[in-house]
């Protein structure tokens, strides 16, 4: 046996043209149709080689190769590690890459199994020490342990880190623990068993029922019940149907779909196949953003491997079900995340939304019935099929089941991906998992749900997160991006930022979105530039309401949300900008003045020497002064002052 799927002996008759339906089970639990100790031993040896469980004694050094860690230099670490292990004559230890652990802040991440020792921020220079101390002599390299930002404690093991402790990783379970480029590892850790179970125990209709029982709602943002969507597509009339995966993750601040595709691509393939079986489709498309080259590469490789093993293709595992999967690379348009725009884009058109109804379930890709779900939604399906809809429904809250992956970014200590049960509070995510606000600053707001979402202030921190609670608080789940802001972020400027984005990305098909967002942006820009007028807030509210009510698609219908939610919770900041011509956060350059604190200034002259416009005057060892007439607010003096004596006021 060369790999997990090659025949163990001549009795194995599996062939791609004549597939055996028990093939996968045979490899993981068999041999089934014959009882040969020799085959069993061969199979077990292969499983042991790829198995990662902590009970096994085999040692592995796992190096994260997600985009974040690669950008921080994990490829070098991998190269040096391979060589160093070889040079040290260590033969019982495999060096392997994995997908994203989600803790990008700490990259490059190296995990040593089976103990699960976690090393963060590893550079190529640290490798020798890890090999010498840890791999050869069994001593741990303490200086590379993770330090908890709140308590200052050092964590030896992966499982002890607060960032992971509060999570419930289901979709991300494999991310960071298996090599996404090897299908064997996915299979050995239980992959494709949901698919086998589907084929053996379920009719198409029963699959739909099971998904309905699970209570899964679309993870792309809208939260539409997934089972219901499947039912509509299954019931739609048509000889040809399609399954489409939306991997056009355009929300600024969200990267969960990317990590799932990079770290666990087979879960998405498996989910889509189950969906195809349930709705009666034999062809699927994954629409991936072209900005994600690594995700595309991993997915291509995963598809090729699944085809080679006879898992994807004609007569899958002797079930009589055939499924073909293709990748379509996007061409850069945020609006293509909207389902009908995405379908137009696959068809080679401009990515403009269609009027609904008819919905894609009845008239989707090439006007045939189409099931369209997001990456994370599909990745949940194999879990539901394997463990059952009831089991899944026991997780989460009454109306939002299961877990949700959030992308934690912004002014927070532990940025990264966190998968948590629905119903967890914002405070737990931001302060326990996220480790609190960076540099000891004060929490101000969290922007949740990207350009379609809203900003939630401190008084909403104990809000249990689910689809409905977020909507009533003025935000929305969106794809799950959480951008945390501290006191130095101006909320008016943030609203302007989002409007700039949506206005740029509006496809232009309908007037409210095309013209309305433009007018709103003009007003916001004026306010941040110090030209706000009385009545601006009311005009913004009026425009927001009509854009929400009259736009054709989700982009326009949600574009005003960031403005409305900042107006709801931070109206005083808008008023300060308009009435007092003052930016309380000190971010809007036209509305802030740089000042020198005479108590702190020791007259070192660094500010004056570095000021590009010579706005600062003062004698050596005397308190300096900034001339507001000349000052351009560039902030060079703040960066250079060692006494922190210069502030924005």
């Amino acid at each position: 046996m060369e790999n997990l799927m090659s025949a163990c002996c001549s009795k194995c008759t599996h062939d791609q043209s004549d597939p055996c339906k028990d093939y996968l089970l045979c490899r993981t639990e068999g041999p089934i149709c014959h009882d040969s100790e020799e085959c069993r031993a061969k199979r077990q040896a292969l499983i042991d080689k790829v198995h990662l469980s902590a009970e096994k004694s085999n040692r592995r050094v796992l190096i994260c190769a997600g985009t974040g860690c690669v950008a921080s230099g994990s490829r070098d670490v991998q190269q040096v590690m391979l060589q160093a292990v070889k040079d040290a004559g260590i033969t019982d230890c495999e060096v392997s890459i994995t997908g994203c652990h989600g803790f990008c802040e700490q990259g490059p991440i190296v995990i040593v199994e089976p103990e699960g020792v976690f090393y963060g921020g590893v550079s190529a220079d640290d490798v020798e020490e890890i090999v010498e101390k840890h791999l050869k002599n069994g001593e741990l390299v303490e200086r590379l342990f993770f330090t908890e930002p709140n308590s200052g404690d050092k964590d030896k093991y992966y499982r002890d880190i607060m960032f992971y402790k509060k999570q419930e990783r289901m979709v991300l379970k494999n991310c960071g623990h298996i090599n996404p480029e090897k299908i064997d590892e996915y299979i050995v850790t239980g992959g494709y068993s949901g698919l086998i179970k589907t084929f053996t125990d379920f009719t198409s209709q029963k699959v739909v029922e099971e998904v309905k029982t699970s209570g899964l709602r679309g993870r792309g943002g809208g939260g539409f019940p997934t089972g219901l969507k499947w039912q509509f597509t299954a019931q739609a009339q048509g000889d040809v149907k399609y399954v489409v995966c939306n991997a056009d993750e355009g929300d600024p601040g969200a990267f969960m779909d990317r990590s799932i595709l990079e770290g666990n691509p087979h879960a998405v393939i498996e989910g889509m196949m189950i969906a195809g079986y349930a709705v009666g489709a034999t062809e699927g498309y994954v629409y991936v953003r072209a900005e994600y080259p690594l995700a595309i590469k991993r997915l291509e490789r995963a598809i090729a491997q699944a085809e080679e093993y006879g898992i994807l293709g004609g007569n899958v595992l002797g079930s009589g079900f055939s499924f073909k999967l293709k990748i379509k690379a996007g061409a850069g348009a945020f609006v293509c995340g909207e389902e009908t725009a995405l379908l137009n884009s696959i068809q080679g058109e401009r990515g403009m939304p269609r009027v609904r109804p008819p919905f894609p379930a009845n008239e989707g890709l090439w006007y045939k019935p189409t099931l369209l779900n997001n990456v994370e939604t599909y990745a949940n399906i194999p879990i539901i099929m394997e463990k059952g809809g009831d089991w899944y429904a026991s997780r989460g809250t009454e109306k939002s089941k299961g877990t949700k992956v959030f992308a934690l970014t912004g002014k927070i200590n532990n940025t990264g991906l966190a998968e948590v049960p629905m119903g967890i509070t914002l405070r737990e995510i931001i302060f326990d998992i996220g480790g609190g606000i960076k540099d000891g600053k004060k929490y101000k707001a969290v922007q949740i749900g990207g350009p379609s979402g809203g900003c939630l202030p401190e008084e909403q921190l104990d809000l249990p997160i689910d689809y409905d609670s977020l909507i009533s608080a003025g935000a929305m789940m969106g794809s799950g991006g959480l951008v945390v802001m501290d006191e130095t972020t101006c909320m008016v400027d943030l609203a302007r930022y989002f409007l700039t984005f949506t206005q740029n990305e509006s496809c232009g098909k309908c007037v409210p979105c095309r013209e309305g967002t433009k007018r709103m942006l003009e007003i916001l820009t004026r306010i941040t530039e110090g030209d706000g007028q009385e009545g601006d807030i009311e005009t913004l509210e009026r425009l927001a309401k009509s854009i929400k009510n009259t736009s054709l698609c989700g982009l326009g219908q949600t574009a005003p949300n960031p403005v409305l939610s900042t107006l709801r919770y931070f109206r005083n900041e808008y008023e300060a900008h308009i009435n007092k011509k003052w930016c309380p956060a000190g971010e809007c350059k036209a509305l802030t003045v740089l000042k020198i604190d005479p108590e702190k200034c020791n007259g070192c002259t660094r500010c004056a020497r570095n000021c590009p416009v010579e706005a600062i005057t003062g004698e050596v060892k005397q308190v300096h002064e900034i001339d507001p007439e000349i000052c351009t607010n560039c902030g060079t003096c703040i960066e250079n002052c060692r006494k922190e004596a210069i502030y924005k006021g």
Partner: protein, 163 residues
């Protein structure tokens, strides 16, 4: 601009041949326009008008449609681009962590504005909405390499590496 008056024609016909291969691959396929435009852009580095006209003829589509699609998506470019594409992320996470400062510094170092190419055709600068590496904000991509945790003073060094 480098001299393009001589030795250019041979290159050009090579590229045209490559485009033929693209048509062979996609002819008759549903929804081929976007992949064909992507492949053509890979061949030429951008989408010259002549190439778009050929695409329209070969795929039997009106030129207006080809042009409409090419101008709709931000990844298609109608002008020659630099050898290295620098994409500075101005997504939300980068925005709150100082992405604008990074963008400003890159503009200063290259001496070009958003969407422009340096005179020596070495670099093209673009701002993008999010490249999904928010954990490392602020970030930029040079070609397919992601550079994270940037500060303005790191910029000249990174750009030097690609010169």
């Amino acid at each position: 601009m480098a001299c393009q008056c001589c030795n250019g024609s041979k290159d050009q016909s090579d590229k045209d041949k490559q485009l033929d291969a693209v048509f062979e691959k996609y002819r008759g396929m549903n929804g081929a326009l976007i992949p064909v435009l992507q492949a053509a852009q890979d061949v030429y580095g951008y989408l010259p008008k002549e190439a778009m006209e050929r695409i329209a003829r070969e795929l039997k589509l009106p030129f207006s449609k080809v042009f409409g699609v090419a101008t709709f998506y931000s990844q298609f470019h109608l002008d020659p681009r630099g050898e290295n594409i620098i994409r500075v992320c101005l997504g939300t996470a980068c925005h709150v962590r100082g992405g604008a400062g990074i963008f400003g510094k890159v503009k200063e170092v290259l001496g070009v504005e958003d969407g422009e190419t340096t005179e020596d055709l070495k670099f093209t600068l673009e701002s993008v909405a999010c490249i999904g590496a928010c954990g490392l904000a602020p970030v930029m991509m040079v070609n397919d390499d992601t550079h994270g945790r940037l500060t303005p003073d790191k910029i000249p060094e990174i750009i030097d590496k690609y010169k």
